[in-house]
């Protein structure tokens, strides 16, 4: 996993609640057996006016200019500001893969759906939960200021806004540790292989039908 310690960039506001993973990456792109290359199809149905298909050359597709991602103000944005229940729906990890591939390594919202939230951390991304009132303020600031940026410092758990203010955020200590050090979950778990084996033996003795 790619380590994450500091991250800075333009904030793109996506002002809608319940952004689902079908919206983030439509199903036709899930036929890929790879982990990469999903960025051009991020928010495909909102972003383009035509119907997207896998392996399409997106550079010539008609853009939906009303969609925030296509607006000149937010070109190069790499922090996404969202509303409640961001990432709801399917467990498809293609959703964080497409966000990360596009460049959004930091997402900020009042709440995230459970599976999506977890999937982000595993992929070296930082989803940050802030109070609804703070999110409302952030939307106001981003909408009012061209080129509004946020600098994220994971070590100190602080956001530095381009207007000079700062916001503290919470993050799970284990997830923080993994992100800062780019640690692989599986390698960590396998350090407890003996513990797992011991549990498994006991479990099998107690409930042999689970191992039929």
């Amino acid at each position: 996993m790619k380590a994450f310690s500091q991250h800075q960039g333009i904030v793109m506001p996506l002002d809608r609640a319940n952004v689902d993973t079908d919206m983030i990456i439509p199903k036709q792109f899930l036929k890929s057996i790879k982990r990469s290359g999903f960025g051009p199809y991020l928010f495909d149905e909102l972003r383009y006016k035509d119907k997207g298909e896998p392996d399409m050359d997106c550079s010539t597709r008609p853009l939906n200019k009303d969609f925030v991602l296509n607006q000149s103000l937010y070109q190069g944005a790499n922090v996404l500001l969202g509303r409640q229940n961001f990432g709801c729906g399917s467990s498809r990890e293609h959703a964080p893969w497409s966000l990360e591939d596009f460049g959004f390594r930091c997402l900020i919202a009042p709440s995230f759906a459970d599976i999506f939230y977890n999937n982000c951390f595993i992929n070296g991304m930082l989803p940050i939960v802030l109070d609804s009132a703070i999110i409302d303020e952030l939307f106001d600031k981003v909408n009012a200021t061209e080129g509004f940026t946020i600098a994220v410092d994971l070590e100190t758990q602080k956001l530095s806004l381009s207007d000079g203010t700062t916001i503290d955020f919470e993050v799970d200590a284990f997830r923080k540790h993994c992100l800062l050090n780019g640690l692989d979950d599986i390698a960590l778990t396998l350090e407890d292989a003996d513990l797992i084996s011991a549990f498994e033996s006991k479990h099998k003795k107690e409930s042999p039908w689970l191992f039929a």
């Binding site: 002002d15 809608r16 609640a17 319940n18 689902d20 079908d22 919206m23 439509p26 199903k27 036709q28 899930l30 036929k31 890929s32 057996i33 790879k34 982990r35 149905e45 119907k51 896998p54 392996d55 509303r83 409640q84 229940n85 709801c88 729906g89 399917s90 467990s91 498809r92 990890e93 964080p96 709440s111 759906a113 459970d114 599976i115 977890n118 999937n119 595993i122 992929n123 799970d172 200590a173 284990f174 979950d185 599986i186 778990t189 396998l190 407890d192 292989a193 513990l195 797992i196 549990f199 498994e200 479990h203 409930s207 042999p208 039908w209 689970l210 191992f211 039929a212």
Partner: protein
């Protein structure tokens, strides 16, 4: 000390390691695998040179991408027209063959939607921890199991370690008191719950469904309810074990037999929340208040009774919610105040891991029997959840009832629930669907989905619009 909830018990029975910061390692008994979320996990395992931890824990079947027309299915894998889908399914076959994982391949009679296949084979049993790279894994909780959807990295983690890294969720009890009225089903019940608590209402919780109305449901009905726990934001939904659960499991291919069965049953009977168990949240609904439900918007929480109207955005005070309402109505091509019964329909889909089991097909066939699909419906299709469901339905003559009425009778798979294969809506088309998600574009680019029960979908196919199934037939 307070008693334990069903979730507490399942968690404690599988706890391998608990860290001081709340993080835990949970042992996974069963891992279901399908073609879409697994290839990258197998590849990751291979690249890292890691071994599969326990081959017997895994069961695979292709479902998301398989074609459902008999013609395209007849030549098996090689007959799949979409080359990208064919590669993905072949990749699953190759991975399972290489590692020795049991897979019900495309035209195996046991193939089907993974959440239909698991319980059917007895691969889902009470007391198990179950994961799958699919959010609707919550379905299996209907048998008193702790079942949850995971992402592809977690699929790889489970393949390599047989464990999941998790934090314990909070406990929510959704209690449905009383008895459902005639014509009101498990689907209507769970849609009503989602309408009440919202699509994020269960975030951070494991939901146990309880109460008289849940106890009265069949096991298949309970699967429909738990299937949609994720639509309320909860990774896991579950229902206590009772005699119905035990009877359902008895005699299934992978269920224990003989003395082992007797031991298992004793253990399973304890899979209920203790009387003095404490829930962090309790939501109660009265079954008699629930009418047949129809979703009108682009989120499962945007749901109303068949007798209701589409809401007026102007009446919504909260700006973000009003914004969502307006956006949904524009996308759906509907007007605030429009009666649900006036929503025009183009297609009807009966299938998906929510509603493609034999009882679902029986309920739909009962409504359809002797009638014809309305001329205004361009396509009405029934997609059984598995080869075995298909076979059973054909043995009962249900397929003929559907075919005679003008429905297409298909081969098993996820089909138009997520429209990865050729079964999809065209832009602007309205569909009465027994599936679980009405998100924008879910059933096809620009498609407009309305989630309903199998009986309501069948009735809509006949009438060409939504009708109250309670007013049909014996009336």
């Amino acid at each position: 000390m307070a008693g334990k909830t069903l979730y507490d018990k399942l968690w404690d029975q599988h706890l391998v390691k608990q860290s001081d910061d709340g993080l835990a390692l949970i042992y996974i008994d069963r891992h279901f695998i399908h073609e879409v979320t697994s290839p990258q996990a197998f590849e990751g395992l291979r690249i890292a040179g890691r071994k599969l931890w326990r081959v017997g824990a895994n069961i695979a079947t292709p479902d998301h991408n398989v074609p459902t027309t008999t013609v395209e299915r007849s030549a098996g894998l090689d007959g799949i027209e979409d080359p990208i889908a064919r590669i993905q399914i072949k990749t699953l076959d190759d991975n399972c063959d290489e590692l020795g994982i049991t897979e019900y391949k495309i035209n195996d009679p046991r193939q089907g939607i993974v959440h239909v296949v698991g319980p059917e084979q007895g691969a889902t049993l009470p007391g198990m921890t179950i994961v799958c790279g699919d959010s609707h894994t919550s379905t299996h909780g209907a048998l008193g199991a702790l079942a949850q959807g995971i992402g592809t990295s977690e699929v790889e983690h489970v393949l390599a370690t047989q464990c999941l890294r998790a934090r314990k969720m909070k406990n929510m009890l959704v209690r449905i008191d009383g008895a459902l009225r005639r014509g009101v089903t498990a689907k209507d019940l769970v849609l009503a719950v989602i309408g009440k608590i919202g699509t994020a209402g269960g975030t951070g919780y494991a939901i146990e469904f309880g109460g008289d109305a849940i106890a009265a449901l069949s096991i298949e009905g309970r699967m429909t309810v738990c299937n949609m726990a994720i639509e309320a934001g909860a990774r896991a939904g579950m229902i206590a074990v009772d005699q119905k659960t035990i009877d359902y499991c008895h005699g299934r291919t992978m269920a224990p037999t003989g003395a082992e069965w007797d031991t298992a049953v004793i253990a399973w009977r304890d899979l209920v929340s203790d009387d003095d168990a404490v829930f962090d949240e309790i939501v109660a609904l009265q079954a008699e208040d629930i009418a047949p439900q129809v979703t009108w918007g682009s989120s499962p929480e945007m749901v109303a009774s068949i007798t209701d109207r589409v809401p007026e955005p102007a009446a919504e005070k909260d700006a973000t919610r009003r914004n969502s309402l307006e956006r949904a109505l524009t996308y759906m091509g509907l007007k605030g105040g429009q009666p649900i019964k006036n929503i025009p329909l183009d297609k009807v889909f009966i299938g998906s891991c929510t509603n493609s089991r034999i009882e679902d097909l029986r309920a739909a066939a009962e409504v359809v029997q002797g009638q014809k699909v309305s001329d205004s419906i361009k396509l009405a299709m029934v997609v059984p959840g598995s080869g075995l469901v298909q076979k059973q339905a054909e043995a009962e003559g249900l397929h003929q009832i559907f075919i005679d009425a003008g429905f297409e009778w298909r081969e098993p798979g996820c089909s138009m629930c997520l429209a990865m294969n050729a079964d999809k809506l065209e832009e602007g088309e309205h569909c009465a669907s027994t599936s679980n998600r009405n998100f924008e574009g879910r059933q096809g680019f620009g498609g407009r989905s309305h989630l309903v029960s199998p009986a309501m979908a069948a009735a809509a196919a006949i009438a060409g619009r939504f009708v109250d199934v309670r007013e049909m037939g014996e009336g």
